[in-house]
Symmetry: C2
Subunit: 187 residues, 2 copies
Amino acid sequence: MAESTTGRERIVAAALRILDAHGLADLTMRRLAAELDVRASALYWHFESKQVLLAAVADRIVRAAAVAEDAEPADVALALRDALLAHRDGAEVVLSTQALALGEDMPRRRLAAALARALPQDEADGGAAILVPFVLGHASLAQQRLQAAQLGLVAPVDEHDDFRHGVEVILAGLGAPVARARQASRG
Amino acid sequence: MAESTTGRERIVAAALRILDAHGLADLTMRRLAAELDVRASALYWHFESKQVLLAAVADRIVRAAAVAEDAEPADVALALRDALLAHRDGAEVVLSTQALALGEDMPRRRLAAALARALPQDEADGGAAILVPFVLGHASLAQQRLQAAQLGLVAPVDEHDDFRHGVEVILAGLGAPVARARQASRG
DNA sequence: ACCTGAACACCGTTCAAGT
DNA sequence: ACCTGAACACCGTTCAAGT
């Protein structure tokens, strides 16, 4: 049911546009409303608070991670990272929203599912509980550093290889097979 | 030089009091100034912005991690985690400040130093680059979940064992010896 | 069902001026 | 050296009222 463009979807899409163009600090209810040619108070008919709206934005960021059904754990982790970095301040939005149990729990479930094909279920769950904080923490730090580097405040680093190495170390520690992931798409 | 209670130190201490009592959302320049019986504008003589002030707060949170010179890597990670969780919203403050290169780089250096006693220097550096995002990410998520649990929004989890397990998996993946850490101080 | 108008109780920051 | 007073340009949220 429901078209692809319900009221909430339009608002979330506008929020992502502001995020990309101006960053989280500029994503205010008033600015978002202006983007939609509406007053800020109108948004409260669709979302009960800014926090809930941000959870919906986080949801959409995470949902954009394209992962094949049978993807290797390392590929799931890389796809999640790409999705977090696809929008300015995306990692921060997802991280700050994740634990509130509002913004779905998809990253953990996808990682656990991928791990479960190589490990007993409880070890797969435990592994996901390690990979999720690593992915979110790394993406958060990487994104801040990338933005600082764009302002010339800091020397740029190759966060991508760094991230992949981390995932491989964790998988090795879990005793899971570390398949060489798809071709290196250095970013 | 400098007494233990310079102007900046007093302000940072007051900020930590507000953090503990009311959380990051209530840590405003106006409230902080009121705590010190001063107007908000006075704070700008000591700190050029709220962001820089928060970096100083993060610095102090991290510096409180008590680690012996010869501590095992796992103990350093646990001490950092304890320091982050010692103040309300502490992990978030440190995480959001860390990458700006303002809030010192101590966690990484301490972990790298501990790892360097068991691994070649470059592997120790690489290991620290994995442990730091894990520690910050895990503490951030754990702290949000703990606070949500206090509000009865979510079932409480034993984040402590979860964290230790993650550290052990990462150390195992690095090929570092995983010493059994000091007595379990389940919290 | 969806939005406006107006208000409430706030923000971070700047800067002349005081002591 | 350190602080006040006053202002500027904003915030998130509520709620009666409109269509």
